[in-house]
Amino acid sequence: MLTEFATVLVFIVLGAVTVALMLGVSRLLQPRDQTAVKLSTYECGEVPFGSSWVQFNIRFYVIALIFIVFDVEVALLYPWAVIFQRLGLLAFVEALVFIVILMAGLAYVWKEGDLDWVRAMQENPAGKGGK
């Protein structure tokens, strides 16, 4: 059984040697004139400024989550549509059930105001801010 793992060992050794070799050769061959421009993050692009650890709007996540509702729907309905004619009435009903379940989710986010970028004030402001 251990001999089966010899293959793995050879793989690991070969991998390590390859990486070391590539980095070493490049180290030997590379020209080294390090100016300020060379050392910047994007040598030919925008000058980066500020920290990348900034908070950004949580609404991006909500939108990404809502996207899943439509994404899943399309991912399943495309193959369904391609062979729809062979599947018959039963598949039609099954797809309807599937869509109704997803629509319940859509109705929920709509009612919650998550489809608007600027969220409307709710009737119940107790849920917002603070506790």
């Binding site: 059984m1 319940a104 009612k111």
Partner: protein, 492 residues
């Protein structure tokens, strides 16, 4: 022979009832005006009650495989469906009484709760790796949301975050184990995997796969060393959710653990004799060590806790350790002991948490020191808590004792004496910290003498939980008979 999709629907009614209730709850949330009304709690009660009824009416004999081999309908699955549905009903009642949850949006809470229930239904009956993974996630993801349901409370947020991180890691490791199994056998059906492995010899990769899968299940039942999340989650989550997590998903975790390991690595014997290990992996020793470690860590750390919820969290880790004793024996009687213990554990653990909720409603505190003098301030709650705690310890004549007797008897019958000794020593340790709460309640002077009112309805529910806890310690024969009938797994 697995049934096709259409033929399966009529045997899938409990799950359909839960699904329909979830959709109705979403509709109630969208259409309803008052988000705090108890309409959604009543609706969920009706839905889960219907699911329980349909489960009870379902013919589970002979066992059949549904949806082209995705889920099984056998006595084992029916037992766990009934158990988890019952736990959910109790938790719904607890949630209605909890001050923590009042004023929060109700329908969303019950949507999450019932989604976990649906996941547990599927988890206890899944017979395909893909279905198994999906249902495990269906249990996990709403659990994360439930743990963080008190958005304004920091510890609740922390609970949710830790739960997500641990959960993601555990299920990642588990699904890697699944992929190894699939690679070794070329099928996702667990029965076929078992057959393929019985003839193969790839011991080391197989052992790796078994350990990795055990990580995922061990996380769900909170076995050491995958228990790290549970004290923080149990402490931070709203108390009804803590009670739910400590019973429901734990039971479903045991269901999937038993079904998976016994189907894949052992061959169930229909005649009721011991199973035989059919693969080169000796996982029983692995789990015997896990069991001993789980109960020891759980009990020893519980000794020093100051917060009741945290103490009960460690005690529930310890109880998972006791139940694992029955898992390592490869006998139907061992599994039967687990099933019986789960029933007993449901009543005593939910009961203990219910008293914690009632006390916290009055005192806004979960510290053990605030239980001082509860015996005079709220005698009814204090006496019932004492009953539940003594049952958890396993003192006769309470039901916990009988549960432990069955587990210990099997361990000793099979000659695993060291495990029985460890478990016995652990019971002694657990007596210390359970009795400490009782001592604080009855022997210490309260800082505040005012009476703590317990309304009539919670009293009735406490009685409903305390009566089985006492009764099963004296007359347990019907439950053990049901458990014995439920041991048979679907083997096709």
């Amino acid at each position: 022979m697995p049934l096709g999709n259409l033929a399966s629907v009529s045997r899938f009614l409990p799950e359909l009832a839960v699904t329909a209730t979830i959709l109705l709850l979403v509709a109630v949330h969208v259409v309803g005006k008052n988000r705090q009304s108890s309409a959604s709690a009543l609706l969920s009660l009706a839905g889960v009650g219907a699911a329980l009824l349909l489960t009870a009416l379902q013919p589970s004999m002979p066992a059949v495989s549904l949806f082209e081999g995705m889920v099984a309908l056998d006595g084992f699955a029916v037992f766990f469906k009934a158990l988890t549905a019952l736990a959910t009903i109790v938790v719904i009642f607890m949630s209605m009484d909890s001050a923590e949850l009042s004023g929060k949006s109700q329908a969303e809470y019950y949507v999450f709760l019932l989604s976990v229930l649906l996941g547990m239904f599927l988890l206890s009956s899944a017979t395909d790796l893909v279905m198994l993974y999906l249902s495990l996630e269906l249990v996990s993801i709403p659990s994360y949301l439930l743990a963080g349901y008190l958005k304004g409370r920091k510890s609740s947020n922390e609970a949710s975050m830790k739960y997500v991180v641990y959960g993601a890691t555990a299920s990642g490791v588990m699904i890697y184990g699944f992929s190894l199994l699939y690679g070794l056998t070329g099928t996702t059906q667990i029965a076929e995997i078992g057959r393929a492995l019985a003839t193969g010899k790839a011991a080391l990769p197989l052992f790796l796969a078994a350990v990795m899968v055990a990580v995922g299940f061990g996380y769900k039942i909170a076995a050491v060393p995958f228990h790290m999340w549970s004290p923080d989650v149990y402490e931070g989550a709203p108390t009804p959710v803590t009670a739910f997590l400590s019973v429901g998903p734990k039971a479903a975790g045991f269901a999937v653990l038993v079904r998976f390991f016994y189907t894949v690595f052992a061959s169930p014997d229909g005649a009721g004799g011991p199973w035989t290990l059919s693969s080169p992996v000796d996982w029983t020793l692995l789990f015997a060590v896990l069991s001993a470690a789980t109960m020891t860590v759980g009990n020893l750390v519980a000794v020093n806790q100051k917060n009741v919820k945290r103490l009960l969290a460690y005690s529930s880790i310890a109880h998972a350790g006791y139940m694992l004793m029955g898992f390592v024996l490869l006998t139907p009687a061992g599994i039967q002991a687990i099933l019986f213990y789960l029933v007993v554990y449901l009543f005593m653990n939910l009961g203990a948490f219910y008293v914690v909720i009632l006390v916290a409603n009055g005192t806004r505190s979960e510290d053990i020191s605030d239980y001082a003098g509860l015996g005079s301030r709220a005698p009814f709650a204090a006496v019932s808590l004492a009953i539940f705690l003594f049952a958890l310890t396993g003192i006769p004549p309470f039901s916990g004792f009988i549960g432990k007797v069955y587990l210990f008897a099997e361990v000793i019958n099979r000659g695993v004496y060291w495990l029985a000794v460890v478990a016995a020593l652990n019971s002694v340790v657990s007596l210390y910290y359970y009795a400490r709460i009782v001592k604080v309640m009855f022997l210490e002077e309260p800082a505040e003498k005012a009476e703590l009112a317990v309304p009539a309805f919670p009293r009735a529910l406490l009685c409903l939980l305390a009566v089985p806890t006492l009764l099963l310690g004296v007359y347990w024969e019907p439950v053990i008979r049901v458990a014995a009938n439920s041991v048979r797994l679907l083997a096709f």
